[in-house]
């Protein structure tokens, strides 16, 4: 049986790792803080994958990649990098530096030709299409450019469009739930069109109970959480053990 996945997501901004809440960020610490507080040799026993996103306004790719290397040097789990991928050059820089996958957001709408370019070269399994959405009165909207600009199209139509692109997985992130730790948006699962690619749900995960209902749904392959504060210390270990006790099919590494 294919196992469910817990993905831990780190947000990098101008030299620091940050905590986001409804897309407003606060500095938590630098790479040394992460390495110290999230012992990555040990922590990879409790997560299945890692995503690291560069959300700096002015990107310094080499500095970002140095920070990434400090964190992943001794962990042998799948890695996704993302943030500002608009052309093949940055996609290559990521995929040729230990990243197995890249996460693409704005380019899905502005330059989706690069999706097939990347896919031809590295395979569609190397691309996660990520969508940020929020609820407005009577409707759901999707935003791009780090949730600053609304995509002018119907929610379902956008999802169908993305489902037909040459990507490997689809990640949907609730802006309303982002960083709240109050629970994931389970209602959204009934409002999605049929997707034939693995779906990753993100936004609002605070404790293991929030994961159970979502991971028992056949529609969801993985949950991503970027809540650094909720899962510090033994947080990720407790989360995994809590889920396994509740018969969620996750690999156990320890």
């Amino acid at each position: 049986m294919l196992k469910k996945r817990i993905i831990f997501c780190l947000l990098y901004k101008d030299g620091y790792f940050v905590q986001s809440r409804n897309f407003i960020t606060n500095i938590i610490g630098d790479a040394n803080w992460i390495v110290k507080n999230y012992n990555f040799i040990n922590i990879s026993n409790y997560i299945d994958e890692l995503i690291i996103l560069d959300i700096s306004l002015k990107k310094k790719t080499n500095t970002f990649l140095k920070n990434v290397e400090m964190i992943v040097k001794r962990s042998f789990i799948p890695l996704t990098l993302g943030g500002g991928i608009k052309n093949l050059t940055l996609a290559r820089a990521f995929l040729e530096n230990m990243s197995d996958k890249i996460l693409v957001n704005t380019a899905l709408f502005e330059n989706h030709e690069i999706i097939s370019e990347i896919s031809n070269r590295y395979g569609s399994q190397s691309i996660i299409a990520a969508l940020d959405y929020k609820y407005e009165i009577n409707k759901k909207i999707i935003l791009k450019n780090n949730a600053r600009i609304e995509v002018n199209n119907d929610f379902k139509k956008i999802l169908k469009f993305v489902n037909n692109l040459d990507v490997g997985e689809i990640l949907i992130n609730s802006i309303d739930k982002d960083g709240t730790g109050q629970g994931l948006d389970i209602k959204i699962l009934e409002k999605l069109p049929k997707l034939n690619k693995p779906l990753i749900l993100s936004g609002g995960a605070g404790n293991y109970k929030h994961f159970i209902d979502i991971l028992t749904s056949k529609k969801v392959s993985a949950i991503s959480t970027s809540n650094l504060l909720n899962f510090v210390g033994n947080g990720l270990k407790d989360l995994r053990h809590g889920l396994q006790k509740n018969k969620i099919d996750l690999p156990s590494w320890d």
Partner: protein
């Protein structure tokens, strides 16, 4: 005697850093090249791979590596390990892009996952069966990280040792035929279990 090195074949996609990182951790020396002479004189080979089947085959052919690989593997009997697309390239053909000519060390055809309602690609950790597989010796857990849309479905001929996995249908997750080894999953991304596999390949 000099410690043998693993030659990692550079197909031009630069996606071998994780593999080097894993071998580094195991204190195993690697050498990345697309040079025919270096490949021809290598101790053992590793063929990583991502992307489309055709891209991989074209890259091998354009660099003139097809014959060198056949010589090293068939005549010099050096060990070779193909990972993910690399494993598929060791087989005979693929439905992806309708490519008839693989390296053909094994007569296995690669086809797409077909069952309806199945999410494609097959991504994540999945378990494999058959523990007599030499690469799985002393490996504690039997699940590994997969990320692919095509796979070998038919069982290979008798005498070829293989491991199976299931995703909608059964498929070949790994094989060993004399000095030729293939893994559909990514050992370099499968935690300590995967590292043990890489170490086993080196020591066999």
């Amino acid at each position: 005697m000099k410690k043998p090195k693993i030659t990692i074949l550079d197909l031009g996609y630069g996606n071998f850093k994780s593999l080097i990182n894993a071998f580094d951790y195991l204190n195993i020396k690697t050498y990345v090249t697309n040079n025919k002479k270096k490949i021809s004189s290598s101790d053992m080979l590793c063929l990583p791979g991502v992307g489309a089947y055709k891209t991989g085959i074209d890259s091998l052919k354009d660099q003139g590596l097809f014959d060198v690989l056949r010589e090293v593997v068939n005549i010099k009997k050096r060990k070779v390990l193909g990972i993910c697309l690399g494993m598929q390239l060791l087989c005979s053909s693929s439905e992806e892009g309708n490519i008839r000519e693989g390296l053909n060390f094994l007569n296995l055809k690669i086809t797409k996952f077909k069952s309806k309602n199945l999410k494609i690609p097959h991504i994540g950790f999945n378990s494999v069966k058959n523990h007599n597989f030499s690469l799985l010796k002393n490996v504690k857990k039997n699940y590994f990280y997969f990320a692919h849309s095509y796979a070998a479905k038919k069982k290979p001929l008798k005498g070829i040792n293989f491991i199976e996995c299931e995703y909608g249908e059964k498929f070949i997750a790994g094989f060993e035929k004399n000095n030729v080894y293939g893994l559909q999953f990514h050992p370099e991304k499968s935690q300590s279990n995967g590292l043990k596999i890489l170490e086993n390949f080196y020591k066999i």
